[in-house]
């Protein structure tokens, strides 16, 4: 049995602005075990990004509890790659280390090793404008990995890419996360992507959202995300989740 490293209990979030208040999250409960790959799916605007923002401590919660195991650190990968055009690929990957004051020879070597392992070493002195969308996304992931987080939060990491690159990159990202032994929580609106990558899928209801269902994904001969799409259980999960999400039924 794997250790639980994150426990979300009764999480609540209300956004306030001058004219109104928006109850985004009503009652969110889930647990995350070490090295799990978890996906969150739900109708658009239901509060998926909000959950990640709260976990990344970018937003304050309005109620409930987020219990992290001791010494667990969190890295956040935004939907947009947000690479700085005036920094080289290497310098982009080092920004988190600079900010957290952890930039030294050792941490830099770790980043260089990541760039080497994931086929970006030759581009380390280039600027982001010369990279393809998929490569930029990998750079963004390495930038997040550089600070050695235990849990990675991924907000629709592939949504800016075309379908072909999405498939390839989801394989890449999955491999990188598994190789580096990380725990991941990914938000996506693509059901197939969620099933092909995750151990567990959390389905949210529409806003104000609650957890509608949690699926443990059990695929026979599970391998890479692209191959997982061919497993016989795949369509069964797809239909169930699709039905959960369709508000008109």
């Amino acid at each position: 049995m794997k250790d639980t490293i994150l426990n979300v209990k009764g999480l609540k979030k209300i956004y306030h602005d001058r004219k109104s208040e928006i109850e985004a999250l009503e009652d969110i409960n889930f647990t995350v075990n070490e090295k799990d790959f978890i996906s969150i799916v739900g109708p658009s605007g239901c509060g998926k990004s909000t959950i990640l923002s709260i976990l990344a401590m970018l937003e304050e919660k309005s109620g409930g509890e987020v219990i992290l195991k001791d010494n667990i650190s969190i890295g956040y990968m935004l939907q947009n790659d947000s690479l700085f055009s005036w920094r080289t690929i290497l310098d982009n990957c080092l920004i988190g280390l600079e900010i957290t004051g952890k930039l030294n020879k050792e941490s830099k070597n770790y980043v260089l090793k990541l760039l080497k392992t994931y086929g970006l070493y030759d581009f380390k002195d280039k600027y982001p404008s010369s990279l393809s969308g998929g490569m930029r996304q990998r750079v963004a992931l390495i930038r997040t990995l550089a600070i050695k987080p235990d849990i990675l939060l991924l907000d629709e990491p592939m949504s800016a890419l075309d379908y072909q690159s999405r498939l390839a990159i989801s394989d890449d990202i999955y491999k990188i996360i598994k190789n580096e032994g990380k725990t991941a929580i990914m938000v996506t609106h693509d059901i197939a992507e969620a099933i092909s990558m995750s151990d567990k899928i959390i389905v949210l209801s529409k806003r104000p959202s609650k957890v509608k269902k949690i699926y443990d994904i059990k695929l026979s001969n599970k391998s890479t995300p692209i191959n997982n799409r061919k497993c016989k259980e795949f369509s069964k999960y797809y239909d169930m989740i699709w039905r959960d999400l369709d508000v008109h039924i």
Partner: protein
């Protein structure tokens, strides 16, 4: 050695040809203008007393150079322009930074900035002379009134338009406001800042000349004013021509800085 394809060579040739055409026509325009002006005034088709002529302008410039006053006037005007430019740049950057880092302050001063920026400062000229006195100080004061607010506003607007995703990214690493400023706001706004400097340099020149026309005993503005008072049109036009050359050079320097910075990071 990398060799280009035939099509690419042709493309480069076309670019070169275009460059030559631009150069020739630029030269032709000024050449025809000067020759035309010279001839028209030489044969008195236009009143050569009122409209001067290129040769008279040249003569006047040489005379001014010979008695040493040319560089004195240029020097004083340049000094005033550079001083007010530097002060406005520093003040602009500092105030824009304060406004960026404190939303409440920026909300409070916003209407005042708008009013001060849109107010025609020339109208304050006589008042400035009374307050500050008819000295170089009031020239600098005039220039600062004209160039500072627009510099603040341009830089500040660039700062607050910085991509929000970038800020979120840095915040996810728990960046402090100071880190966000130096790692993101400043480097991502270099084009905005250079553009603000370009506007600043034009405004500084306008402000200084305005001030010199009003109070000065020295400088190119004074030269122009004096020339018109004694009806020496040659002197007036010589002053204007020198001013044109100076402002072109200042612009040129900022452009070089811009190209240097751009090349350094791509």
């Amino acid at each position: 050695m990398y060799t280009y394809s035939k099509e690419h060579k042709e493309y480069l040739k076309k670019l070169k040809k275009e460059k030559i055409i631009v150069f020739i026509f630029r030269f032709l325009i000024i050449f025809i203008f000067l020759i035309g002006w010279e001839l028209l005034s030489k044969y008195n088709i236009i009143n050569n007393f009122l409209s001067s002529s290129p040769s008279n302008v040249l003569k006047t410039a040489i005379n001014l150079f010979a008695d040493g006053s040319l560089f004195k006037h240029i020097g004083i005007t340049l000094y005033e322009v550079i001083l007010s430019f530097v002060v406005a740049t520093a003040v602009g950057l500092i105030i824009a930074t304060i406004l960026w880092s404190n939303k409440t302050i920026s909300k409070i001063v916003d209407p005042y900035l708008t009013i001060l920026n849109s107010l025609p400062k020339v109208a304050l000229g006589p008042l400035i002379i009374i307050w500050v006195g008819a000295s170089i100080n009031s020239i600098i004061f005039m220039a600062l009134l004209i160039n500072t607010f627009i510099t603040i506003i341009n830089i500040y607007n660039g700062f607050i338009a910085t991509n929000k995703n970038y800020i979120t990214l840095l915040k996810s690493f728990r960046a402090t406001k100071r880190q966000i400023f130096f790692k993101l706001i400043l480097p991502s706004n270099y084009i905005t800042i250079i553009n603000a400097l370009k506007i600043n340099i034009s405004m500084s020149l306008i402000g200084v000349i305005m001030g010199e026309l009003l109070v000065s005993k020295n400088g190119l503005g004074y030269l122009i004013m004096y020339g018109s008072q004694v009806f020496n049109i040659d002197l007036v036009i010589t002053g204007v021509v020198i001013l044109g050359i100076i402002s072109y050079f200042m612009y040129f320097i900022i452009e070089k800085i811009e190209i240097y910075v751009r090349n350094k990071r791509s």
